[in-house]
Structure formats: C-alpha cells, structure tokens
Symmetry: C2
C-alpha cells in the first residue's frame, strides 16, 4: 500500500490503512510526514480526548484500561488505545495491549489497540506516541487511552502528551507514595487507588491526600504555597493547569469494574476545567510549537545522516581520534563547519 | 576557576579542578569541549578500566561497589565511581554515591565518587557518563566503577559504556530472572548472585545458569544456536565479544565482603579475554566514532538553537499550524530549507 493508498484508505476508515499509517509513523518511513500533514487540518476540533494512564508495574493499569474501554463503548464512544511498553528491564509486566487485545474488546471495530515498544524509538518516543494519537484522532476515535508503565523519564514524557493523566497506585506498591520520585506526583490530574479493597488502601489514600493538601485543609495549603514555589497549586509545571482543578483521588476495584464510572466522570470534569479560560487552546498551541521543533530536529538529524561527506570525513579522521592526535570534539567541529559551508550550495 | 585554571588544576591532580571539570561537562558549560579535547590524548593507554554495575533496586549494588573499592584500594589502585541516579519514578532507592560517600571511602584521596542525575541530562546521559569517565581516567583513576539502577533503556545504555558489565541479582528480586526483560541478560559479562546466603539463591543461580546454557551443557547450547540467532554465544550484540568468554556466575554476600575477590578476579579475566585478538582496540575505535557523532549532533542542535531566525519563523508560522492551514512538518521543512540556505553565508 503506497502513501496514496494509505490516505485513501484512511478516508474510507479502513483499519488496515490505519495500521499501515501507524507503522509508517513508528518507523519514520518515507512519506510518513506527508500522511501526518494531510491529516493535520482535521485535528484539534474537539470531540477527541487523550487520557494518559500510568503507574507502577502491577497496579492494574491494563485491567483499568479495559474497564474504561467498556465504559466509553457503553456511551457509544469510539476508543483507541496506545500501550507503550517501556522495555524496562527490571519491571516485568506483560505488554498491556497484547493482553487487552485478547479479551473483551477484541472483536469490536470501534476499539483499536496498538502496542508500541520504546526500544529503538528511544528519544523520540513521546513525539511518536503523539503522532500515532493524531492518526487515531483523525480516524475518528473519541477517547484515546495512552497507557505506560511509567518507570522512567521517557515514559513520563509519554504520559504528559495526554490531556489528562491518571496515576494508578495500589496498596501493595512498596512503600506507598514514598517510592514515587519527584515528577510523578505532579503530572497526575486524577489519582486512582486501585485494588482499594486490599489492606493498606486507606493508608495509601491518606498519604496521597496529605501530599495533595486535601486532608490538612487550608492551613496546610497555605504553608505549601509559601515554602514550595514549584507547588502545582501555585505555579505548576508549564503544561498543566495551575489552578481551578483539585486532583481527585478515586478508589477503584478494576477487576470488578468498581469506581470506573467515577473515574470517567472525574476525567470529564477535568476536561471541563481545562476548557475554562482558554487553557485548552493555549496548551494545544504550546504542544504544536514543540511538535514543530521536534520535526525540525528530526529533519536536521536526517540531513546529517544523508550528507555523505560527513561519514567520509568521520572515517578519514577516525584514525587521528583513535591515536589521540585529535579529539572527537575537534573532528565534530570540523565536520559541522563543512556542513554549514556546504549547506548553501 | 576559568578553563585555563581547570586545565592547570587537573595537571596538579587537584580534586577541586576535577570536580569543576565534571560540572562543566555535566552542564555542557562553555569550554567543556576544550577540557575534554585537551585530555583526549591521554586516554586509552591502558591501565584504566571501566566497570559497569547494574541490577534491580535493592540488589545491594552500592554495598558491592563499596567492597570493590576496598578490594582495589588494597591492591593499590585508584578508584573513581560514577553513580547514576536514574530518577526513576517508581523504584525508590537512595542515591548510591551519597551513601558510599558517607562511609569507608570518604577520606581516601585516591577514591573519588560522583553522583549524576539523569533528570535534565536525559537523552545524552550515556555520552555524558562516558565523558565524565574520561575525566576520571585522565586524572589517573585505574578502576572506574559506573553504577546504575538499570531500570530503563537510558540506564542500560550507560552500563554499556563500560568495558565490563556486572549484573547484580538477588534471590528476593521478584520472580528471578523472569522479571528481566530482553536486553538486560545480554549486556552482562559477569553475573553476581548477591545475598547468596538467602533462601532462593540456589534456584536463582540455576535459572541464570540455564539461561546462559551452562547447566544444560552442549546439547542445550546447540539448540539455542539454531533457534535463537541473536544468542550472544553465536552472534551477540555488536559491542560485546561474541566468543571466547563464558560469563561466570559469582556468588557474593557483599555485606560481609564474601565473593568480592572472586568478582574482581572475574573482571580481570574478562579484561584479558577482551585483549585477545585486538577486540579492545576495535571496541575503542567504535566508541570513539560514536562519540564523535554524538558531539556532532550536539553541535548541530546548538546551531539550531542559536540560529535566531528559527524561533522567529516558528513564531510567525505557529498560527497557521494551530489553525490547521499548515502542518508542523511543512513548517519544519520550510525552516530547515532556510537554515540550509543561510548556513553558507
């Protein structure tokens, strides 16, 4: 299927064309930018929402995702899922999408599940995930669930591409929220205590609420506002709403579907909060600027790769580097100069 | 301290100059490439060996590192340590270097310990770690231990910059080696079963040995050679020796220092195996080529950043992108063309 065939197939809402388009994007094959450019005008018209779901291994994210799919299907919404396997060497955990694919959602044409591996895509994974989400949005999926086992910076970046991010915790996940390093708690818009019937659920909930300043009331918030300038309530990371939204803590038992409607409701309310005051528009603008920069960086990298004289020069100079006569930095500077000089020709 | 002061201080083996040089490299501050270039001619003369130590949280890597420091100090060798904190949100684990610093090694001028955080350095961490190791080597450290909690691709890449990589496992680490994803087992040259007096140690050892094909003997290896083309014994990843080295499995109780001499001995033997047939030379050449490419990429990124018209153009075109009239890719292509055209001037 050529690029024209893919574009045509996407118009007809042919799942095979979608799968092919995703592969093009994942592998950055010839023509992938043309496909994405073609679809660009259809994006951001509202109606499609991206929800990131992250949390430690074993928190029940895939079960929760499955239940959310059921919930949204019950409301007649089309659901796309991107399951990002962090290829994290020490976490275990089956590939989420693979599991879901086998189960309830597998025969529904209005559900589309795609697994993505970080291996290889490494570095640009957040951008690639966002581009695949664009394909799903243009194809007509109204909820796009982006699931990651958030064990590293890369996976956090992926979760951050979503409009709303859900952090799933479970009572047994080690030492509770103390095992969460800086950066994780701040990204979530909605907290889920899954397996909430297990021992320790109340303690975990209390910990999360204290951290969020819910339990301690205003006095606690006041203290935080003065002593923690990076507090999300007062300043917040640039791509998160700073105020007007108090992240709720939702108790679920995903295996029985309990709390899933409450979670979906919280996500709807978060979307509403984002719409107020044009925050949604501002955020989209910022992400598109980032995306353009990322596309530019990729273009430059490609330009380096295809400029034949770079490899030649590197090969010719490598003996000098190995023998210690010139450093990698000196050779890199020389090649860069030649690129700049040759670029105008 | 200016760059000249740093270079002069490094000549005098002034630890303050070393610390300053490392900060320059970590932050890519002005002059860092000059420092690295200046030292480049001294590197790769033998006598300094880099050892990566990785494994899941709680495996006792920092205790093992501490014991290795003692061992090498007992042999009169100078030891540098780079402890890489993966800033992994869900693993916990205190910063290894911080702990060690407090303890036995802290007053020995021939031991130098540096912690590095991945946050921020993200993407280029392996390169930065390698550059810091270069500083330590040029400063005269004869063993450089690079410790990572290897939970993600980035940390694996860091471990891979070492000449020899040690994977530390413990009986209680979850489901044993089944929790290790693809890529981890292949990177190790030496396996350590730490806390080997605990229940499950024998089982874990057996699992690792089966995986390595030691237990099953030749019949097993034969099967693997036919069915697993990526098997490290037959092909192996490109930067690992494919043959001539059977990774040993060493039992240790790091807290009591047991097995540490055996580990050091295995590392010496691995170095010897690498020296045979010029593999060490070939590997160094490959890494230097990679390094030069990385320096070139950084240079290009910098060039993009300083080219003022890029930001201007992006700002001017962003409305088009937001309104769907042009895609991020079209705008990126336009900017790239302008960069190429303007570069020669």
């Amino acid at each position: 299927m050529g690029i024209d065939g893919v574009l045509e197939g996407l118009e007809r809402r042919d799942p095979a064309a979608l799968a092919r388009a995703i592969s093009l994007v994942e592998n950055q094959s010839d023509g992938y930018e043309r496909v994405l450019s073609h679809l660009h005008a259809r994006l951001g018209r509202g109606g499609s929402r991206r929800i990131g779901i992250t949390g430690p291994p074993g928190a029940g994210k895939s079960t929760l995702t499955e239940r959310l799919i059921q919930h949204y299907r019950g409301r007649g919404l089309r659901v796309g899922v991107i399951a990002v396997d962090p290829t994290s060497p020490f976490t275990g955990g089956a590939l989420l999408g693979d599991r879901i694919r086998m189960e309830s959602a597998s025969h529904d044409p209005d559900v589309f599940i795609r697994s993505m591996a970080t291996r290889g895509a490494h570095g640009g994974l957040a951008t690639t995930t966002e581009e695949v989400a664009d394909l799903l949005e243009a194809f007509g999926f109204e909820r796009i669930l982006i699931e990651t086992v958030g064990v590293g910076q890369t996976e956090l970046d992926v979760a951050r591409t979503a409009l709303s991010t859900v952090l799933v915790l479970v009572p047994e996940s080690g030492d509770g929220i103390q095992t969460l390093k800086a950066g994780v708690m701040e990204i979530a818009d909605v907290y889920v205590i899954n397996k909430s019937d297990r021992p320790g659920a109340d303690k975990l909930r209390a910990e999360v609420e204290v951290m969020l300043g819910i339990r301690q009331g205003n006095a606690f918030r006041h203290v935080r506002a003065h002593h923690a300038p990076a507090d999300r309530r007062t300043a917040g990371p640039p791509d998160r709403p700073a105020e007007g939204w108090d992240p709720p803590v939702i108790a679920t038992i995903a295996s029985r579907g309990e709390g899933v409607a409450a979670l979906a409701d919280a996500l709807d309310r978060h979307y509403g909060a984002l719409e107020v005051g044009g925050r949604l528009v501002a955020r989209r603008r910022e992400r598109l600027a980032q995306r353009t920069r990322a596309a530019l960086e990729r273009g430059v990298r490609q330009w380096i790769a295809v400029a034949a004289q770079v490899d030649d020069l590197l090969e010719r100079r490598l003996d000098d580097v190995v023998d210690g006569r010139r450093s990698p930095y000196e050779v890199a500077a020389e090649i860069l100069d030649q690129m700049k000089a040759g670029a105008g020709r």
